[in-house]
Amino acid sequence: MSAQPATARSYSAVPAQPLRKGGVRIADVVKVYGTSEAGILAVDHCTFDVPPGEITVVVGPSGCGKTTLLNAIAGFHSISSGNIYLDDELLCGPRKLKAQPGPDRIVVFQNGALFPWKTNIENVTFGPIMQGLLSRAEAYEKARDMMADAGLRGIEHNYPGEMSSGVRRRVEIVRALMNDPKILLLDEPYRALDSLTKSVMHEALLEVFYKNRVTIFFITHDLEEAIFLGHRVVIMTTRPCRPKKILDIDIPHPRDYSVLTTKRFREFMDETAAAVHEEALKAFAAGEKER
């Protein structure tokens, strides 16, 4: 499967419910930047679930607070109130407002964060080597296998800056998977890609997902992307962000690009487009007032 890019169909043999891990529960979370009097309310009493072993996609207008929410789960900053649980274990709550970042929740960043001063394989092996889980040789071997699996053979000793941005994103996902995380947190990872590369990346991500059954929390602006990838799509209001609508996408997995032209897909698009557009308009109007 490494040499020949496998099609999504060939995974239909994968059991529908393997290990269930990595569920996140966001309960009544509030995040205010700055002081409570003169601050920016970014997340307002937000509650929803990220079911384990599924892809949850969050859609919302620019600046609504999606990244803020993701950063709170990852432990990059504190929340103001509420609770976030990972598999019923408290990540952050009233007593401990900031979660501890760790290799069970790995973020793939909006603009990519492969270390440009390390080669691709040094990037991929960074996690296990830093944590002292694997020796250098073991880590390299595992990395080589995983990169080959993801169709990234032969670029191990190149620097990320030499690769196209699509390849960089895939290396970054492999870097995350090397740590066997419970949940992958993807913050608009494909924002900067052209639509052709994007479609390839979507299928590559689904491929990874079918293989690892890792929970995925995916942020995007792009409704089509959201419905195509997600088991569940959470549409956010404009800032302060709160779920406006939560949809369970019942298009069966494994999916591939033929889904895009189906009637069911169109129905989901129609159902959500109005809600998203309404929020986008609000965000736009608010943005104009702020300036």
Partner: protein
Amino acid sequence: MTEASPLRALNRDVSLGLADDAVRGISPLALAIHRFLLWLRSPRPYLMIVGFTLFIGFWYLAVEVWKLPRFSEMPGPTEVVREWFSRNPTYGLSVFTPEYYLHIWVSTRRVAIAFFLATAIGVPLGLFLGWSERFKQYVFPVFELLRPVPPLAWVPLAIVMFKGSETPIIFLTFLASFYATALNTMLGVESIDVSYTRAASCLGATRWQVFRHVIVPGAMPFIFTGLQISVGVAWFSLVAGEMVSGQYGLGYVINTSYTMVRYPTIVIGMITLGIVGYVTSAAVRFVGDHLMQWRTRELALGGDR
């Protein structure tokens, strides 16, 4: 589905192939020769010759042929070159006299000592200033308090503080380099995208590992910019120090040649300073490019980040 698969295969090949072959196939020497040939075919070398001809020609005509009012006092280019390459220089200094190299050596040694001290102290200081908010709050105000005083204004105080004539000069040279290095290193750390440190802590790195694997290499480009500025200002201060006090060194040559009315030697000293200064900063650049392969290759490809 049927349209997606071939597309994916295609895209993979394109994205994997192009970039790395372009770099791997070509040896550095071949690349250098190629660049040189390209340069020869461009108008640049000829324009450059025109430029130097105009510059030196004007100098020559104004001083030696037309003898324009103020210019006639100055040494002309032929006079300087004759003196510089004379086996038996009229004013005692040429490429054939050992003192010439002694002066170069003394100046270079002073700059080298000052530069290495400044790097050894300035880089770690800058790294910690950028890395730890708390450390910066305590240390930076004093740094900012002292910095507006130009290093050259320290000349008399340096002579008072340190015994002998060697240490004050090295101290002055050090001071100028130190500010440049520490400040640029700090800016370098502060300019590192927060995503990198976040990614590292996500991947389970400890605070110290983040420092070692993210902060230090991430600040490297700025550090080397700082080091290049640092060599430049080191020569700048050195000359002032040597002109005011001390013996030997190129600044000293320039100054004594003035008082002893050996005018061509002044120009020899200036040109030599320019050359040595240029060589040292080129050396720093070379080391930097060597240490930051990732950056060199990225820039060579016009990376699309």
